[in-house]
Symmetry: C2
Subunit: 118 residues, 2 copies
């Protein structure tokens, strides 16, 4: 899949936080901290959609962009991808399980229990 750059991630964050598709202008308005040229935002949106992270639909002359997948799906996929790098998935999973903090272990446990019940 490949990771995202910093600006790219900021923009994905904005779009993930929204539940409606946004235009480049709207995204630009939501990045207050940085003072970016409108075309910069457009370029990045364009790259993100070319990479498959965003889908876009026409709205008049403008494009409206929205995430192709939820942030959670993206994160889960990154995690699975990391897992694929290992030769010994079991060892990596075990180590991962030990590394998550207590409350999170609880969440994992619960999700796995639900799985089991299905």
């Amino acid at each position: 899949m490949k990771g995202l750059g910093e600006l790219e991630r900021s923009i994905m964050d904005i779009l993930w936080a929204q539940n409606t598709p946004l235009t480049a202008r709207e995204v630009g308005r939501l990045i207050e901290d940085r003072d970016l040229a409108p075309t910069t935002v457009m370029t990045v949106l364009d790259r993100l959609s070319r990479k498959g992270f965003l889908t876009r639909t026409r709205d008049g002359r403008a494009w409206r962009y929205q995430p192709a997948a939820s942030r959670d799906a993206y994160v889960a996929e990154l995690m699975l991808e990391a897992l694929d790098l290992t030769g010994d998935r079991n060892a990596a999973l075990t180590r991962f399980a030990r590394a998550v903090s207590g409350p999170e272990a609880e969440i994992l446990r619960r999700a796995l229990t639900e799985l089991e019940e299905k």
Copy 2:
């Protein structure tokens, strides 16, 4: 942490597969498929140690390189890093739990149970 390039990963794989520190020459000999100049291997080893993935110790004139962390630790760290990207760790963890295959879910479950018992 940042990911590795393809050659970098191949070289890490070689070193992870070995249980003794290797010199650049030895690593080069173990990459048969590619026909790399010795200096190429040295450069990559150098970069990897500067990035903290390898440690090196002198052996006469040569350096011997070995992984700074096990592959499993690396993978687990990548997974945790991915997890940090999310706003909602619970949702991401839940989704991850649902995405792992059956046998792997079992391994996770077991690791978590051990945790609980400690």
